[in-house]
């Protein structure tokens, strides 16, 4: 019947144009359902973001009224020799975390995806460390790293190696933290890659196999390129996550020895909750947010270029 109608009539039948300024049928209900969400986001997400930007230009210690100080907080920050140390330490943590933590989950996910039986058990085992609360995990590794009665030096001692100064030496402390963090986090990444691997079209593998491509070439030319999107996403998320590392240095080393594991977030925590200088802490938070924002922007830019080529 639609076919015989004129175009204007057809439009009217299929898509009755809403009268202008007609009231939304559920205006009141919509507002009521949205209210809790808008209130909690307003108070605990949107306002703190705005307030961080304001605080960065104020001096406040919660006792005296807040004062506008312009760029003074940033000037003080850059005058603090610890800022450079903390920034470098944080970048070093991130780089080490990528070296330790990026290839291993890819390897595990590819191997585990090829299991015909027992995949469930593998997945449980690989995710178990992620289920352990981070504080308990860090305390556990602190015991393992102990120079006198630690498990690791004991085991290396059996084969005549060590003892190693896991947490005592300025060069060793950071890699030791990264080792723990990798142990604690890799399982989640493995599960994400396994989920991504199930969406690789089987026809690609079948076609490659009938063309005589070896298993290695199939991994190199099909599996990894097909995972590219999720690999890049996890790379960005891992970088953003490791830029905010806190629990490991706070519980395991308290930034030591000699500030070799002092990270940016540890510094923010100290400025605010040890020295009570909330303006400085906010200024450093804003700097961190800017860096993370730039990273995300570069990432979005890069993935756009890669996906269009």
């Amino acid at each position: 019947m639609t076919a015989v109608l004129h175009k204007a009539e057809r439009d009217a039948v299929v898509r009755p144009r809403p009268a202008r300024r007609a009231r939304h049928p559920y205006a009141l209900a919509s507002a009521l359902f949205l209210a809790p969400m808008v209130i909690v986001f307003g108070y605990f997400s949107w306002w703190p973001i705005v307030q961080s930007a304001l605080l960065a230009f104020q001096r406040t210690n919660l006792v005296d009224p807040a004062q506008w100080v312009g760029w003074q907080n940033f000037a003080n920050l850059f005058a603090d020799p610890l800022l450079g140390t903390a920034a470098l330490n944080t970048v070093w943590f991130t780089v080490l975390a990528l070296i330790f933590g990026f290839p291993v989950p890819v390897f595990l996910a590819v191997v585990m995806s090829e299991l015909r039986r027992g995949g469930g058990l593998f997945r449980v085992l690989v995710y178990l460390p992620v289920a352990v609360p981070p504080v308990v995990a860090v305390m556990m590794w602190k015991f393992f790293y102990n120079s006198d009665y630690g498990l690791l030096n004991g085991m290396f001692g059996l084969v005549g190696l060590g003892p190693f100064p896991w947490l005592q030496d300025t060069a060793w402390a950071m890699p030791s933290l990264v080792l723990e963090a990798t142990w604690a986090g890799a399982g989640g990444t493995v599960l994400i890659y396994i989920a991504a691997l199930t969406s690789v079209p089987k026809e690609l593998y079948e076609a490659a196999e009938s063309d005589g491509a070896s298993i290695w070439r199939r991994i190199w030319h099909i599996t990894l390129p097909q995972l590219r999107g999720v690999l890049l996403l996890m790379l960005l998320l891992q970088i953003i996550g490791t830029f905010q590392v806190f629990t490991e240095p706070f519980v395991m080393t308290d930034g030591g020895p000699e500030d070799s594991t002092a990270t940016v977030l540890l510094l923010i925590y100290r400025y605010a909750f040890v020295y009570g200088d909330y303006g400085m802490a906010a200024a450093l938070s804003v700097l961190l947010a800017v860096v993370l924002g730039l990273l995300s922007a570069v990432y979005l830019r890069a993935t756009k270029t890669w996906s269009s080529t």
Binding site: Y26, A27, A29, F33, L34, M37, V38, V40, F41, F44, S45, P48, I49, Q51, L55, V111, S113, E114, F122, R123, V124, L125, Y127, L128, A131, V132, V135, V136, M139, M140, F144, Y149, L151, G154, L158, G187, G188, I192, A195, T198, V200, E206, E209, I215, T223, G229, M234, Q244, F246, T247, Y269, F273, Y278, A281, A282, S285, V286, A289, L292, S296
Partner: protein
Amino acid sequence: MSGLISDSDRKRRTVRAVLGSTQFAVFLGILVLGLGPILWTVKGALSPTQELLTDPLKLFPSQPDWAALGEAWSRLRIGHFMLNTVILAGGSWLAQIIVSTMGAYALSVLRPRYGKYVYGAILATLFLPGSVSLVALYLTILDLPLTGGLSIANTPWAVWLPHAAHAFTILLMKRFFDGIPRELFGAAQVDGAGPWRMFFLIVLPMSKPILAVASLLTLMSAWKDFLWPMVAISDGEAHPISVALPRLAEFSEENMVIAGMFLALMPPVLIFIAFQKYIVRGVGFTGLKG
């Protein structure tokens, strides 16, 4: 099973040998690294401290001291601090589920005209990690704006309410609600159902799977929380176990501390093992959100 290695590959001897031994090595590796540390806490809890210090490589305690677990429970008051964790995690879970189901329902089904702006403002917070506004959030809970100086610091509300503002759970819920066939709502409207009855009689009953996934992810992450409860709750008596443990460790014997660690890690590990199907699915989804 991804289909990378086909049936005909698996008939070749070298493929079978390499694949089998790699899988076996991986199994041993994740067994030792995944289960090992948890079993180590069991051993450490049951061994006398003296033995831990002199012979850390011992696989089994010479005289398992089962009373140590009970002693840690009462002397370090693990039960008290775990109850604090249960209260904080439970309230965070409830607040987050109520706020996200209601909000996602409004955004996905009721769709007010300003909805897309609200949703945009919520998604934008995904890109700003919480630790960046940690300091401002602390000042906010000390003095809630527009309330005449109300402070919720040092109360459970300071943990519950910020947890409710979780963009990812809202995204998860909205995506799920978007998949509910619109005809259902049309039919319900014809039958005279209003927005509240559609919410309680259609949306909630249909959302059990996503509610299960969101609940588990929320509970596990609330149980693991460390930095925020440490900042938001100044009263040591009200600290959750994760904040209390490092402090208790400073003045307690090693085997007591390890027993405390074992007790603290068991609830999330057991929840994970019991509901691993849902959690594995949920974690797989988190990576594909982009």
